[in-house]
């Protein structure tokens, strides 16, 4: 009983950290520009494949591959943002939905072409592969690592959001874009920066997820739903909202799968729908 509870909390926390890492960029860009970006999952998938290639083809160690992926995908996303996304700021959600579905399809097709439709795996370093003994219990080292990375990123993002002038500008712009613009904040530039960081983090998450989920091109669509749920439940534009959404849904999903086996896959949707029906703007959103 206690064992199950500990397992749920531990696995749920690891899962929540993954959801948070990928979703936080989506949440902030959505809060900033109201942009419905269904291609966010594709950036995460691209990160997964980049980690795969840098490790298997170039022999880069896992942690190095993660850093490279964060930087490369983040930088590459700027191109997409400037060429495609920027044209649809202020457009209706329909146009945004359509364009990003198109991007996702192109990404899936491209990666299927080069990597095939089958599931890929990576060889993680030995120090992450085993079990780790904590307080008389053993936990899978990889999930401990995932939680550690998540915690470090939360701290870094909190610092960036709450303690830097860039973060203050982002918060002001999420709060009231027009007002922010009128006091001279370059909201477009902010958006490019957050888009790049957010996409980089999504890619990082994609790389981290290979060990948990395996990697196929369909990653871009299958897990997109979870990212959208996290953003919607947490309330777009909010760091703490995204964290809350990731924790609630990560725990709900894990608990559902532990406790109800087959029917457990419902839990994440049931919880998300319930929260959205009660708080349509999300836990931390403004009505």
């Amino acid at each position: 009983m206690v064992n199950t509870l500990v397992s749920i909390l531990f696995d749920g926390l690891a899962w929540a950290m993954f959801l948070f890492i990928v979703s936080v960029g989506l949440s902030v860009t959505m809060g900033l520009m109201g942009f419905v970006n269904l291609a966010h999952g594709a950036f995460a998938m691209a990160g997964g494949y980049l980690v795969l290639t840098t490790m298997s083809a170039w022999g880069v160690p896992f942690l190095g591959a993660l850093v490279i992926t964060f930087v490369v995908v983040g930088a590459a996303s700027v191109l997409f943002e400037r060429v495609l996304y920027a044209r649809l700021y202020g457009a209706g959600e329909l146009d945004q939905v359509l364009m990003t579905i198109g991007l996702t399809f192109m990404a899936i097709a491209t990666y299927t072409y080069f990597y095939g439709p089958l599931t890929h795996a990576i060889r993680i370093p030995d120090y992450l592969a085993g079990q780790l003994n904590l307080g008389g219990r053993s936990f899978p080292a990889y999930r401990v690592f995932l939680i550690g990375v998540g915690a470090a990123l939360i701290a870094a993002l909190w610092y960036g959001f709450d303690r830097t002038s860039l973060g203050a500008k982002i918060r002001a712009s999420v709060d009231n874009r027009r007002m922010a613009q009128s006091v001279g904040i370059d909201v477009d530039l902010l958006f490019t920066i957050t888009f790049a960081v957010g996409s980089g983090l999504a890619a990082l998450g994609g790389g981290l997820a290979i060990q948990l989920l395996g990697l196929t091109p369909n990653f871009a669509i299958i897990y997109l739903v979870f990212f959208l749920l996290v953003v919607a439940v947490g309330g777009s534009g909010s760091l703490w909202g995204t964290l809350a959404g990731a924790l609630v849904l990560g725990m709900a999903d894990t608990a559902g799968k532990y406790l109800f086996s087959d029917a457990g896959t419902f839990a994440i949707y049931a919880v998300a729908v319930l929260i959205l029906l009660l708080k349509p703007a999300g836990l931390y959103g403004r009505e």
């Binding site: 146009d95 939905v97 579905i101 198109g102 399809f105 192109m106 899936i108 097709a109 299927t112 349509p280």
Partner: protein, 345 residues
């Protein structure tokens, strides 16, 4: 209410002839125009010109019907949903289970069963979800569709799960016309259903109710200020749209004699959205052009390489969004003007 009593007095000076002309534009736009016969002539011509392609033809007609159902809510009422496959899937399962579990294989009642189940789901989910907008609505419609799919997987003894229900064999149409392996009977069956449903949808969009839907799409705030029961209007059209999608799903199950939980996939919701957008939303015939284009392209390209097809459709979608919907090309290529009512008398 007696409208004549409180009517403001005409200031005079404008002839009654001019008034009649002005009113006439509202009257005339709902009349059938000769150009509107074109899609139907094309559909009948296809039957004679490509007799070996009627299986594809029938599937295309089904997707046209599905796209038509989406046009009602997206093109007219302005509702963007990511979960329209839910109603298609429910219609498909409704029609299938009627045959495999209840042993009732008469086809037309199968369509009605599919329509009814989808309509009930449309009414309930619409009543619950249509008060939400933006991201919340997108995520909610997406989630509900996935939950339905998982529900189907949970009761896989009943639904066949992802392996599907085989043996959805319908009885001959009207007890007389049996189905050939070339899909000829099915094609004509689908065409007949499409024609009837299209007529009904067309009446609805040109009705005062349809006018109110367009008002909601254009400015929901003002409709609220006009005292319009906006939520109920949307629930009604959502229910009708769901029923039509359900009929399309039922036809899909009947003509394929098979259905799997794949009908609830996000890809299905996305595909119908893409078809409608390719053909243009909000003028009834978008589905005809878009679905025909999509199905033929898919048939040709996916045979060669599925990746090539998926890449192409993605590229096409981005092109349509950036250059047709938001560009000058859209105004130049506005084919809809041919078939749509002129706005000037």
């Amino acid at each position: 209410m007696d409208a004549s009593k409180s009517r403001p007095a005409p200031a005079g000076g404008e002839s009654t002839v001019a008034r009649a002309g002005v009113a006439d534009f509202l009257v005339r736009r709902s009349r059938f125009r000769p150009a509107e016969a074109l899609p139907w002539i094309a559909a009948i011509a296809a039957f004679f010109i490509f007799p070996s392609q009627m299986v594809l033809g029938g599937q295309t007609l089904i997707m046209i019907l599905f796209a038509l159902s989406l046009d009602l809510i997206l093109g007219y009422a302005g509702i963007v949903t990511l979960g329209h496959a839910a109603f298609f899937g429910l219609g498909a399962y409704g029609a299938s289970l009627l045959i495999t579990d209840l042993g009732w294989s008469e086809p037309v009642s199968g369509l009605l069963a599919g329509a009814l189940i989808a309509a009930i789901a449309g009414f309930l989910s619409g009543w619950l979800l249509l008060r939400y907008r933006g991201l919340a609505f997108l995520v909610l419609t997406l989630s509900v569709t996935i939950m339905l799919q998982q529900l189907g997987n949970l009761f896989r003894d009943f639904t066949g799960g992802y392996d599907g229900i085989p043996g959805v064999n319908v009885a001959p149409l009207f007890g007389r016309f049996d189905y050939d392996i070339y899909g000829h009977t099915y094609y004509l069956y689908c065409l007949g259903v499409l024609l009837i449903v299209f007529y009904c949808v067309r009446r609805i969009v040109y009705s005062p109710f349809g006018q109110a839907l367009v008002g909601i799409r254009e400015n929901i705030g003002r409709m609220n200020a006009l005292g319009s029961p906006v939520h109920w209007r949307l629930v009604v059209v959502y229910t009708i749209s769901a029923a039509v999608a359900g009929i399309a799903g039922a036809l899909f199950a009947q003509t394929n004699a098979f259905v799997t939980l794949g009908v609830f996939d996000f890809d299905q919701s996305a595909a119908v959205l893409i078809m409608l957008i390719l053909g243009g939303a909000g003028w009834l015939y978008g589905g005809f052009i878009g679905a025909a284009l999509y199905m033929v392209l898919q048939n040709e390209l996916a045979k060669a390489s599925p990746e090539f097809w998926q890449f192409g459709i993605g590229l096409l979608l981005i092109g349509v969004v950036l250059f047709v919907r938001r560009g000058t090309l859209g105004r130049v290529l506005n084919v809809s003007r041919l078939l749509q009512a002129r706005t000037q008398p």
